[in-house]
Amino acid sequence: MTDPDHDLESALAGLRPRPPGPAVTAALARELDPPVSRRGVILAWTAGLTTAAAALAAGLFLARPAADEAPAYQLVRAEQSPANIEVLRPVRLDDGSFARPVRVRWDNTTQWEDPRTRTRFINYRPNEQTTLLPLETY
């Protein structure tokens, strides 16, 4: 092989072939995954079901039979939305005093990802708190 050929071969090796489409990657992941694998699990937790969903998710992951099949989820994002504050009309309490109800809503979203399978586990938790601000009247 001549030197010019070698230079040309090096230049060719510098070209980057286009990768297979995402459908191929997804299909291979399905083929290579063990049958018990549960991938792409996304649980949307509502406020009322938070405790039950947490228990269910823990059960799912603890029930995996083999250590090498277990996903290794790593925390990738934790977000808290800006609070939405509603100041409601004053109300009269039992003792005759007045108070103004204030309702605050926000949500927390935490995402973990298994880098091996690129699947995400998302914990979406909406929150709501209502408090009474006493009003002084003269």
Partner: protein
């Protein structure tokens, strides 16, 4: 049979080598979609039946790709499609990622213009990392014929690049 690659993460292996395997498959297929199908089928075949075998898995995967590609050609054309005909029907979809370097861009555009018999030798040598002897086994040629096609391909590529530079 003991697994010679028990610790191998095959997803990671495919992530690293998938692009060049697809380029190899593209040499023996009519379309980008066919190349994707062939790579997928060939890798699954390898993974199910040959991943335990000792040695470098690369040559086995390339062999699996060629078999899958020829199977697909037979399935899709009962009259028996010659590989020469494949080149004539190739799409004009870019095989490579865009390159800023004009010389590399010219190379990327020139490679598909080579005669199929030269191009497959180039692809198997550069992206298949095969020797002329291994290429000869894949294509049922003598190593000397493979080397000869390589030299013709290099000469043709140089001419094509020079022609593009003068356009």
């Amino acid at each position: 049979m003991p697994d010679a690659h028990a610790d191998q993460d095959w997803r990671a292996w495919f992530a690293e080598h998938g692009a060049r395997l697809r380029l190899i498959a593209r040499q023996w297929t009519r379309s980008e979609a066919d190349a994707d199908d062939v790579v997928q089928e060939a890798f699954v075949r390898f993974w199910k039946h040959q991943r335990h075998l000792p040695g470098d898995p690369n040559a086995l995967v390339v062999t699996s790709i060629r078999r899958a590609a020829l199977d697909l050609l037979r399935r899709t054309d009962r009259r028996g499609v010659r590989e020469q005909a494949v080149a004539a029907e190739t799409e004009t979809v870019a095989w490579f990622e865009p390159e800023a370097d004009p010389r590399l861009q010219a190379l990327a555009q020139s490679l598909p213009l080579l005669p199929a018999e030269q191009r497959e030798v180039v692809v198997l040598k550069v992206w298949g990392a095969l020797t002329f002897e291994q290429i000869g086994e894949q294509l049922q040629l003598s190593p000397n014929t493979a080397a000869s096609r390589w030299r013709y391909a290099m000469e043709a590529l140089r001419k094509l690049i020079t022609a593009r530079a003068h356009d």
